[in-house]
């Protein structure tokens, strides 16, 4: 049960990346592409770190 909740939280974190990307595009898009790229990269890297923890706890634990 705990693993499923953890996995769902990981998926929700990636869904938040999608929302953040749309938000960033909507607000910064077209003005400055570097300013748009960097926040998206930062969010992805942050959620990747969360995802690695989820992978470790959900899939690599016996």
């Amino acid at each position: 049960m705990g693993r499923i909740v953890l996995l769902l939280m990981g998926v929700a974190a990636w869904a938040a990346v999608a929302l953040a990307a749309v938000f960033i595009t909507f607000n910064i898009g077209g003005k400055n592409q570097i300013l748009m790229f960097l926040p998206i990269l930062a969010v992805v890297v942050a959620v990747w770190a969360v995802g690695e923890l989820v992978t470790e706890r959900v899939f690599n634990r016996d």
């Binding site: 990981g10 990636w14 990307a21 749309v22 898009g29 077209g30 748009m36 790229f37 998206i40």
Partner: protein
Amino acid sequence: MALFERAFQKRELRDPGLFRAIFSNTWLAPLWLLARLYLGYQWLLAGSHKVWGENRWIAVPGPDGLALKGFWERAIAIPEQGRPPISFDWYREFLTFMLNHGWYGWFSWVIALGEVTVGIALIVGAFAGIAALAGAFMSFNFLMAGSASINPVMFVLALLVAFGWKTAGWIGLDRWLLPALGTPWQPGAVVSGLLKRRVAN
């Protein structure tokens, strides 16, 4: 007959180590992430103009797709002097057919939502290979319609990401999706579990 049998007997030709290191090894996942994000935000940006922008293609007052209609009309036009935007007659006839049938209405939804979907899928790394292939297909069609812009770079980059489909989404949702769902020739954990349950019942 024996000659043909020998020539086409079943033998697997393995990719060279460098090719596998680039396209099948997770150590280059950060590089694919950068390529994915570049493609993703370009598609999201392009799609956002068509979905939410002032000059959006869809959900406008009046009939949808007039912007796409204008694009197609410019693309199929043959100028009196100089080269036409479209080089291939069959592609011009294809666009003319869609224009004459008024398909720009629903097709503008396909393009606008397709660009946003491909952009988001590439950013979060969900089915990155399929998303990259869909992006390459869209770039290809823009190129065929005579709109170069950044499409040549997008096309080549998308094809490279599609070649690296196994690792392109490693830093992303594919890390979980691919092992769970697998591929048509090798079902993943979830799919094979469902298949076993179906066989048992």
